[in-house]
Amino acid sequence: MVMLDEVVVYQRPQSLEECATHYCPGCTHGVAHRLIAEVIDEMGLRERMIGVASVGCSVFAYNYFDFDFVQAPHGRAPAMATGIKRVLPDRIVMTYQGDGDMASIGMGEIVHAAARGENITVFFLNNANYGMTGGQMAPTTLPGQQTTSSPKGRDVETQGYPVRASELLATLEGASYVVRRSLHDPKNIRMAKKAIRTAFEVQVRGLGFSMIELLSICPTNWGMTPVQSLHWLEEHMIPYYPIGDYKVHPIVAELKI
């Protein structure tokens, strides 16, 4: 009888705690966490990492990522990250923020961190609503989309239009790498991972501000099954928030990753 050696080909990244999360079943935060943790492991950055958690569903991100973390007031993560990076420039500093946190209450902080070319990496999870507080209208809520605070659907006449954060930040000279990816299918998840890798490479090489927008689902607050949510993202979110590279500095474009 021949005994085959068992080889581990897939396991929990070291940068991810072995614990249950508070995220709802089907939520793509888990996918985003895993991708980020995998890249950190692959690049050997864990010991140098300092994360900044935000306010929203990802408020407890520090319980799930297995490296140093601080927890910011609502929207202020890019400012806290700036303070950390300026005193410890050789650490790798990331924020992990939702759409309400970053694109609404924290719009001032994110725009100016990008304008300064702050050498930090921002993960921006866009699920088109305020998840933690129970599904209210966010700056990213689509026209006509029903939420608990736009019960008849977002009326652009009175509630305005959704913010395209990647396109907006891409206009800033200080931003080196700003892209939008989606977490709704394996192909897009692989593309997202590559972008996460590029963003960390940008920071490691001191090339300035990087942000990855990740289109995400919120089955609980959207009132759909996870599978329905993935389809809804593809059909409704991607047309308004196209996947793409919005700012790639020429030096970043030359990186071999």
Partner: protein
């Protein structure tokens, strides 16, 4: 080091640099702006961190981030900007990370004006941000005292993991006086065991700093821990200066510029033979309760002088507890009282029969002119 002519804001900035300031984050606002301007040149020259933030909100959260690494960090602002910072101040207090904050007060409320005032007393001394917390509040009355207290403020902040506030009015920030700078301290190289600096500096030990205690018993325990630490501050760090108190039958209480003007008035009153002294609190928090309590047992009347509508007055009344009459004199909206005005109040205190009826603020208000 020789005595040199220093502007208050610049002097505080240089004293902070010499105390080992590693990072400064700020935003322009009169009458504090020279502090930011001075450090915009001085910090980069020394290879230390300086960022002009997009707002006071940005500045205080940059301070928060840097403080989480255990670095010596400071910001400064003036009244309306301090209001904006209150969110971050509460988070910093709740996370128990040390910072130094300079408030160069101006007239308010609202946009107010840019003239000197002491109207942030309640906001700074009695909170301002949400939740239960205590900050050490130092109130210098001269440039030299501003230098000395700034130099020490970082040690106090680190010792007690507390916010330490240098609370001055715009006149101290703007005026020039001779002052001697302390020697340059080396930057710190060792950090406390709570500092989040990446596991590369504390191998095998993951650190997290936050102000969240989701379970109420944990939040209560955190509050009690902070309160017990604050008791140590109250026991060890009370500072004040007394002038002519030994034989005083009357006492003036005033801090900062108002205390300094009051000292001129007390000296003039002494020249007239009025047995009056001055108690000038240097720590507004912890308040010099014992010193005032002792005076309340032996003087005949107390006059509180402030550049606000009687904010410290309430703390004085709480300590005095109705044992002796308390009177109040304040100027508002950016006006510094003249020594002659305070002298007249001292004369009134020593001459007229004192009453315990009503509130001293009402009696003062009745004496103030009506403009409309």
């Amino acid at each position: 080091m020789a005595r040199e002519l220093w502007k208050g804001n610049n002097a505080i900035a240089e004293a902070a640099v010499r105390a080992g300031l590693q990072a400064y984050f700020g935003y322009p606002i009169t009458p504090q702006t020279e502090l930011l301007e001075y450090l915009s040149a001085r910090m980069p020259e020394l290879g230390r961190a300086f960022v002009q933030a997009e707002s006071e909100l940005g500045a205080i959260n940059m301070v928060y981030g840097a403080a989480c690494t255990g670095a010596r960090v400071m910001t400064s602002s003036s009244s309306p900007g301090i209001s904006l910072m209150m969110e971050g101040i509460s988070y910093i207090a709740g996370t128990e990370v040390p910072i130094v904050l300079v408030d160069v007060m101006r007239g308010g409320p609202g946009l107010g004006n840019i003239a000197p005032a002491q109207s942030d007393y309640n906001q700074i001394v009695h909170g301002g941000g949400h939740g239960d917390y205590n900050a050490i509040v130092l109130a210098p009355a001269s440039i030299q005292e501003s230098v000395d207290l700034t130099y020490e403020a970082f040690d106090l902040a680190e010792k007690y993991r507390a916010i330490t506030v240098i609370l001055i009015d715009g006149s101290i920030g703007q005026m020039m006086e001779p002052a001697e700078m302390p020697p340059m301290r080396p930057l710190k190289t060792e950090y406390p065991d709570w500092a989040v600096r990446g596991m590369v500096e504390h191998p095998g030990e993951r650190r997290v700093l936050s102000s969240i205690y989701l379970d109420p018993p944990d939040e209560e325990a955190a509050n009690l821990r902070m309160l017990r630490r604050w008791q140590q501050v109250e026991a060890n760090e009370v500072r004040f200066k007394g002038y002519y108190l030994e034989d005083a039958r009357f006492v003036v209480v005033g801090f900062g510029s108002a205390g300094r003007v009051a000292l001129s008035a007390v000296r003039a009153a002494r020249a007239e033979g009025i047995p009056v002294g001055l108690l000038r609190p240097i720590t507004l928090k912890p308040f010099p309760v014992k010193a005032l309590d002792e005076l309340a047992q032996r003087v005949e009347g107390i006059l509180v002088v402030e550049m606000n509508s009687g904010q410290m007055l309430e703390d004085v009344r709480r300590v005095v507890g109705g044992r002796v009459p308390v009177e109040f004199y304040g100027r508002l909206g950016g006006i510094i009282p003249m020594p002659d005005e305070v002298l007249e109040e001292i004369r009134r205190l020593s001459r007229e029969p004192l009453t315990q009826d009503g509130h001293p603020r009402d009696r003062w208000l009745a004496r103030m002119p009506r403009s409309n």
